[in-house]
C-alpha cells in the first residue's frame, strides 16, 4: 500500500517539489512529461498598461459583464493588474502586480472539487474541465489568490451579435454555472505540442507563449518550460529578485515574480 501511494504520488508530482530550483529540475517521474510550464513576471518592467488584460480577454473569450455586474464583482479577468497604495500624499507609493492563476503545484483549489473538475495535469497545469464542473464554487473559496471566476450568467448572451464573431474558436465559451480561470493558454500549448509530436520532436523554447506574454511590449512576462534549464523562463527566474505570491502558504506556484525596485 505504501509503495502504491508513494508511486502514485511521485507519478503526479515528482519526488521533491519543495526545493525551488531542484523542484523544477525534477520531472514528473511517472507521467514522464518533458514539460513543466511556468512563468516569470518581472515587476521591474511592468508599467501597468493593461495590454495583457485585454489580450487575455481576446484570446480566451472572456465574457463582458456590463457595468452593473462589474461593479457587483462579477466581471471576469483571468489576468488582472492589481494596484496597491501605500502611504499618503506626497509620501505615497503604489505597486502594480499582474496576477493570474498561479498554477500551484500544491493547488489548494484542486482537492476540494468533489467532481474532479479541476486537477493537476502532468505538465504542471492547474487544469479546469468546464463540462465536469457543477459550480460548487468551493475552489474559489479555497483559492488564496482569488483568480478563479464563476459564470454568473450565460456569457454567450452578452456577446451581442456581431461581437460574437470575434470569439476564438479554439476556446470554449463557458456556460452559466461553471468556474473558469487562466489556463496558461492551454489551447496554444496543445496545438503546438501536437504539431511537434507529429514531427517527432519536443517543443522548443519560445515556440509557444501565452496571450498575455505575447502582448506585453515591455516583456514583463516570460512563459516557458521550467524543466528546460536553458529556457528563457528558467534563466529569468534564476534571479535573487525572485519571489512567489503568498509563498508562506506552501502552494508552490509556478508563476515566479521578479521584485521591482533597485534591488
Amino acid at each position: 500500500m505504501a509503495d502504491l501511494m508513494t508511486a502514485t504520488h511521485e507519478a503526479a508530482h515528482g519526488a521533491d517539489h519543495g526545493a525551488v530550483q531542484g523542484a523544477m529540475a525534477a520531472p514528473y517521474a511517472g507521467a514522464g512529461s518533458p514539460y513543466r510550464w511556468g512563468m516569470s513576471v518581472d515587476l521591474d518592467r511592468c508599467t501597468g498598461c493593461g495590454a495583457c488584460v485585454v489580450a487575455c480577454h481576446a484570446e480566451n473569450n472572456l465574457p463582458i459583464a456590463g457595468p452593473i455586474d462589474t461593479d457587483e464583482g462579477r466581471s471576469v479577468d483571468w489576468m488582472r493588474v492589481e494596484r496597491y497604495w501605500e502611504g499618503h500624499y506626497p509620501e505615497v507609493t503604489a505597486h502594480f502586480v499582474p496576477v493570474m492563476c498561479q498554477h500551484c503545484t500544491n493547488a489548494p483549489c484542486e482537492p476540494v472539487c468533489p467532481v474532479f473538475a479541476t486537477y493537476h495535469t502532468p505538465e504542471g497545469l492547474n487544469g479546469m474541465v468546464y463540462n465536469r464542473c457543477i459550480g460548487t464554487q468551493y475552489c474559489q473559496n479555497n483559492d488564496p489568490y482569488n483568480v478563479r471566476f464563476f459564470n454568473w450568467f450565460e456569457a454567450a448572451l452578452n456577446f451581442v451579435e456581431p461581437l460574437a464573431n470575434q470569439l476564438n474558436p479554439d476556446v470554449t465559451v463557458r456556460s452559466r454555472g461553471v468556474m473558469e480561470k487562466c489556463t496558461f493558454c492551454v489551447h496554444r500549448i496543445r496545438e503546438a505540442a501536437a504539431d511537434a509530436k507529429a514531427e517527432e520532436r519536443l517543443l522548443e523554447d519560445g515556440e509557444i507563449t501565452t496571450a498575455c506574454a505575447q502582448s506585453c511590449s515591455a516583456n514583463v512576462i516570460t512563459f516557458g518550460n521550467l524543466l528546460d534549464p536553458h529556457s528563457k523562463v528558467s534563466t529569468a527566474i534564476a534571479s535573487a529578485r525572485r519571489f512567489r505570491l503568498l509563498e508562506a502558504l506552501g502552494t508552490e506556484p509556478v508563476v515566479y515574480y521578479l521584485k521591482g525596485g533597485q534591488a
Binding site: 508599467t47 466581471s75 502594480f96 450568467f153 461581437l163 505575447q214 535573487a240 525572485r242
Partner: protein
C-alpha cells in the same frame, strides 16, 4: 492566387460563422480540395497589417480564422510594437465587430435623422443575425439564461445577407453620387477634417480630391493634442516632429507629466523602451524619474516620483539644469515653488549629476497647463544641456518615412480648430467632411460645436461607429475598419527606424461599408473628376511603387508582396540631425480659471488608457477593464485625496456635483492617495451624447443576460472645460480649470469599481499584505 481573391474565398468559407462574403459568393460552395492554399478550416493564419486606432501606427499581426478576424497581436520585430501591442490595439476586433457599427451609408434627408433606407438596411442585417442565432423556448424579453438556440438557418441567413449586400450596394451608388454633388456644389466652401491616426497616403488622396474640387487642403484634428510638444521641439530641436526617446539605452529617464506607457503618443514603443531600460541590459539598470501632480502609471513605476503642484513641472526641469550647472533653480527654491519633498529633490539632483546618459521628455498633464510650451522647452533644454540630443540613449531624430511624401502635415492646433468652428458658425463652411475623428472629443463643452454643425448645410461623416459628429451629419459614409481596407501609415513619433507600414484588407467588410478611398474615388468619378485610380488597392499600390528598388530580391516575391507579408517596410535609421538650442530660462506661472474661493480644487483631467482620446470609449473591453490606478471601470469617476474626502465628509461611491465656470457634471468619488489635497482628477472622453450602447451618456441598452438596466456613462468631463483657455502654442489648456465639489448626498449609480479596497488609511493591513506579497524569499 491574388490576396483579394483569397479574401473573397475566405469570406465564403466562413459563411457559417460570419456574415462576410460578397453576395456573388456567399451562397456558393468551393470544393475543399480546391481551396486556397492559406485557407484551412479551423486553422488560424496570421497576416500583417497596421493598427489605425491611434496615431502611433504600430504594425500588427492579425489572426484570421475562416474569414473572421479573431485577434490583433503585435508584429514581431516591428520598430514600434516590438511584438507587443497595447490594450487599445488588441481591442481592434471589437471595433470591427461592434454591434452598433454603421451598417452602410445613411443618406439623410435632414441632419441627424436616420433615413428609412438605412433603417431598412439595418433590419436586413438584423435578420441575418436572427437567422443564425435563433432563440427558442423563451420569449425575447426573458433572456436570462434559459434561452437555448435553434439550429442556425444558414440558407435564410445567406439569402438575407445577399439581399442586404445588394441593397447596401445600391445605397452606395447613390451615396457616391451625392458626395460628388456635395463636393462639386460646395467647392471652396468644403472643409475636410481628418483624425490624427491618418498617417499615410489617405491624407494625400483626400488632399487630391479636395484640390480637384477646389477645396482647401484637408486638416488633421488631434483631440487634446501635442501642440505644445511640437512648439517646444521647434524651439529647441529646430523641428516640430516628435523624436525618438531612446529609453532602451539610457541611464536616467525623466518624464514630465506624460503617461508614456498608457496614453502617450506611442505606448507600445515606450513600454518596450522602459522594459529594456530597466532589465534589458546586463549591467545597467536605468532609472526612471516621474515628475507629475497626479501619481499615474509612470509615477507608480518610477524609481523616484517628484510630486509637484499643478503646472510647476518646469521648475523641476530648471532644477535639473541647475544640477548640471546650467543656471536654473536651487533645491530650496524648487521645493518652495513645487511643494515637492526636499529629500526627493536632493536625490533627483544627485541622480542627474551622477548619470551620463539621460533623457528628458514631457507631455500628458503638462500639456494641459498654460505654460506648457515653456515647460516643455525647459524639459528639452535638459537634453540639450546634457548633450543628449542626437545621441544614443537620448533624443534621436525621427527618421522620415521610406516613402517620400507619405507623412501628412502636423495637426492643426486647438486655436485653429476653434477658428474653424467659428467659421462654421458664421456659415462660411458649406460642407464639412469628417473622417476618423469625433470633433466633440476635441473640444470643451462650451465650444458651441453643436450650433456650428447645425450651421453647416452638408456634414459628411465617415465614422465607422456612431459618434457625436455623425449624429449631426447629413450624410454618413461609414469607413471600413483597419482590418477591412487598404491603407498605410508612417508613425507620428520617432522609433529609431524609418518606417512605413501597410494596411491590407484581411477580412471582407463585415457590413456594407467602404473604405474612404474607394468612396472618394467613386464620388470624384461620379462628379466627373477621375483621379486615375480604379480602386483603393490600385491607389496604394501606385503609391508604394517606389519601394520596389529597395526590396526586390531576384527570383523571390515582388517588393509589394513582400511588403504586404511584412506589414510594410522598415529599417533602422536616423533623421537629419536636430538643432540643440538652449531654451529661454524663464517659466511663467500657470494660470487657472475660477477663483480659489468659489472653486477650491484644481481639476486634473486624466487621459486614461481606457479611453485614450475618446477612440477607445466605445469598446466594451476597454470600458470594462479596471483603470490601472483608480480601478474604476465603465465611464467616469472622480479621484479625490482621502484627506480631502474626510474633510468634505465624502465616502467612496458618494456622488458629487463637480462645478466649474463652464459647466457641471455628476460623478462618483474614488479615494485617490496619489493626488494633492487641492487637486481632483477625472477622466475625459469616456462618454458620448449620441454614442453606442457602450459609451452613451444615458444608458438605455439592457444587458441581455442579466436584464440589468445600464445607467449609462454620464456626462463627460469635457463639459467642465472652457473653450477659451489656449496656450502659447495654440493648444487647449485643459488642465487649467478650477472646480468645486458639492456632495449630492446620494451614492453614485454610475460609478463602477473593479476593486473597492483602495483606502489604505482604513485598511491598515493592505500595506502589510503588499509587504507579504513582495517578500523576497532566498534561493535555496
Amino acid at each position: 492566387m491574388e490576396r483579394r481573391e483569397f479574401l473573397k474565398l475566405s469570406g465564403l468559407a466562413g459563411t457559417a460563422m460570419v456574415l462576410g462574403g460578397c453576395e456573388d459568393y456567399s451562397s456558393q460552395l468551393i470544393a475543399y480540395v480546391e481551396r486556397p492554399i492559406a485557407l484551412e478550416p479551423g486553422t488560424g493564419n496570421h497576416f500583417a497589417t497596421t493598427c489605425d486606432l491611434c496615431s502611433a501606427g504600430c504594425g500588427v499581426s492579425v489572426r484570421i480564422i475562416e474569414g473572421r478576424s479573431v485577434k490583433v497581436e503585435g508584429l514581431d520585430g516591428h520598430p514600434l510594437s516590438h511584438g507587443g501591442l497595447c490594450a487599445l490595439g488588441q481591442a481592434g476586433v471589437q471595433h470591427q465587430y461592434h454591434p452598433d457599427r454603421f451598417r452602410g451609408p445613411d443618406l439623410r434627408v435632414k441632419a441627424g435623422e436616420v433615413s428609412p433606407d438605412y433603417l431598412k438596411l439595418k433590419m436586413l442585417f438584423d435578420d441575418v443575425f436572427k437567422a443564425k442565432k435563433r432563440p427558442t423556448t423563451v420569449p425575447e424579453n426573458f433572456k436570462v439564461g434559459l434561452t437555448s438556440f435553434a439550429a442556425p438557418d444558414f440558407a435564410l441567413a445567406d439569402a438575407k445577407a445577399a439581399e442586404a449586400r445588394k441593397f447596401g450596394a445600391d445605397l452606395w451608388a447613390q451615396a457616391a453620387d451625392r458626395l460628388g454633388r456635395v463636393l462639386a456644389a460646395s467647392g471652396a466652401g468644403t472643409v475636410v477634417v481628418l483624425g490624427p491616426q491618418v498617417r499615410g497616403h489617405r491624407y494625400q488622396l483626400f488632399a487630391q480630391v479636395a484640390k480637384a474640387f477646389g477645396a482647401p487642403a484637408p486638416v488633421i484634428v488631434e483631440p487634446f493634442g501635442y501642440e505644445a510638444v511640437r512648439a517646444a521641439n521647434q524651439a529647441v530641436y529646430g523641428r516640430p516632429d516628435m523624436p525618438y526617446v531612446d529609453l532602451a539605452n539610457t541611464e536616467l529617464a525623466i518624464c514630465f507629466g506624460e503617461e508614456p506607457f498608457t496614453t502617450g503618443p506611442a505606448p507600445t514603443l515606450f513600454n518596450w523602451g522602459f522594459g529594456e531600460m530597466r532589465r534589458g541590459r546586463e549591467l545597467v539598470r536605468g532609472l526612471f524619474v516621474a515628475v507629475s501632480t497626479r501619481m499615474g502609471e509612470a509615477a507608480t513605476v518610477a524609481d523616484l516620483w517628484i510630486p509637484v503642484r499643478p503646472g510647476t513641472h518646469g521648475v523641476i526641469a530648471q532644477l535639473a539644469l541647475h544640477a548640471m550647472g546650467k543656471g536654473g533653480v536651487s533645491v530650496a527654491e524648487a521645493h518652495e515653488k513645487t511643494g515637492a519633498p526636499v529629500e526627493r529633490l536632493e536625490k533627483f539632483v544627485r541622480w542627474v549629476a551622477a548619470t551620463e546618459l539621460k533623457v528628458a521628455f514631457g507631455g500628458g498633464e503638462v500639456l494641459g497647463h498654460t505654460n506648457a510650451v515653456e515647460t516643455l522647452s525647459l524639459v528639452n533644454g535638459i537634453n540639450v544641456a546634457a548633450g543628449m540630443v542626437g545621441r544614443k540613449g537620448g533624443i534621436v531624430p525621427a527618421a522620415p518615412s521610406p516613402i517620400a511624401g507619405m507623412a501628412p502635415p502636423a495637426p492643426i492646433s486647438y486655436k485653429e480648430l476653434v477658428k474653424l468652428v467659428d467659421r462654421m458658425k458664421a456659415g462660411q463652411v458649406k460642407a464639412l467632411v469628417v473622417a476618423g475623428v469625433d470633433l466633440f472629443m476635441a473640444l470643451p463643452g462650451d465650444a458651441g460645436l453643436e450650433d456650428a454643425l447645425k450651421a453647416v448645410p452638408e456634414v459628411v461623416s465617415m465614422a465607422t461607429v456612431p459618434d457625436d459628429t455623425a449624429a449631426h451629419a447629413t450624410l454618413v459614409l461609414p469607413d471600413s475598419t483597419f482590418l477591412e481596407r487598404w491603407g498605410d501609415a508612417t508613425p507620428s513619433v520617432g522609433s529609431g527606424s524609418s518606417v512605413a507600414t501597410l494596411m491590407q484588407p484581411l477580412v471582407v467588410p463585415f457590413f456594407e461599408t467602404r473604405s474612404a478611398e474607394d468612396v472618394l474615388l467613386t464620388a470624384a468619378k461620379a462628379a466627373g473628376k477621375d483621379l486615375g485610380f480604379a480602386s483603393a488597392e490600385a491607389y496604394f499600390k501606385a503609391r508604394w511603387a517606389g519601394i520596389a528598388s529597395d526590396n526586390q530580391v531576384p527570383g523571390t516575391q515582388s517588393a509589394w508582396k513582400k511588403a504586404l507579408r511584412n506589414g510594410g517596410v522598415h529599417k533602422p535609421a536616423q533623421g537629419a540631425p536636430l538643432a540643440a538650442r538652449m531654451p529661454a530660462a524663464d517659466l511663467p506661472a500657470p494660470r487657472f480659471e475660477g477663483g480659489e474661493q468659489d472653486f477650491p480644487f484644481v481639476l486634473q483631467p486624466v487621459k486614461s488608457m481606457k479611453y485614450r482620446e475618446g477612440q477607445a470609449a466605445h469598446l466594451p473591453w476597454l470600458q470594462e477593464m479596471a483603470d490601472p490606478m483608480s480601478a474604476a471601470a465603465w465611464g467616469g469617476w472622480l479621484e479625490v485625496n482621502p484627506h480631502t474626502m474626510a474633510k468634505l465628509g465624502l465616502a467612496q461611491y458618494d456622488e458629487v456635483v463637480v462645478k466649474s465656470l463652464y459647466g457641471e457634471v455628476k460623478v462618483g468619488v474614488v479615494p485617490y492617495p496619489g493626488l494633492p489635497e487641492d487637486v481632483v482628477g477625472m477622466p475625459i472622453n469616456f462618454s458620448r451624447r449620441n454614442g453606442t450602447r457602450y459609451d452613451g451618456v444615458e444608458g438605455g441598452s439592457t444587458w441581455e443576460a442579466t436584464m440589468k438596466k445600464d445607467p449609462g456613462r454620464g456626462e463627460d468631463a469635457r463639459a467642465l472645460l472652457g473653450a477659451k483657455a489656449a496656450q502659447a502654442a495654440g493648444g487647449l489648456a485643459w488642465g487649467s480649470v478650477r472646480v468645486s465639489l458639492t456632495p449630492t448626498g446620494a451614492k453614485s449609480k454610475r460609478l463602477v469599481l473593479v476593486s473597492k479596497s483602495i483606502q489604505p488609511q482604513e485598511s491598515p493591513a493592505v500595506p502589510a499584505r503588499v509587504e507579504q506579497e513582495f517578500k523576497v524569499w532566498p534561493i535555496s
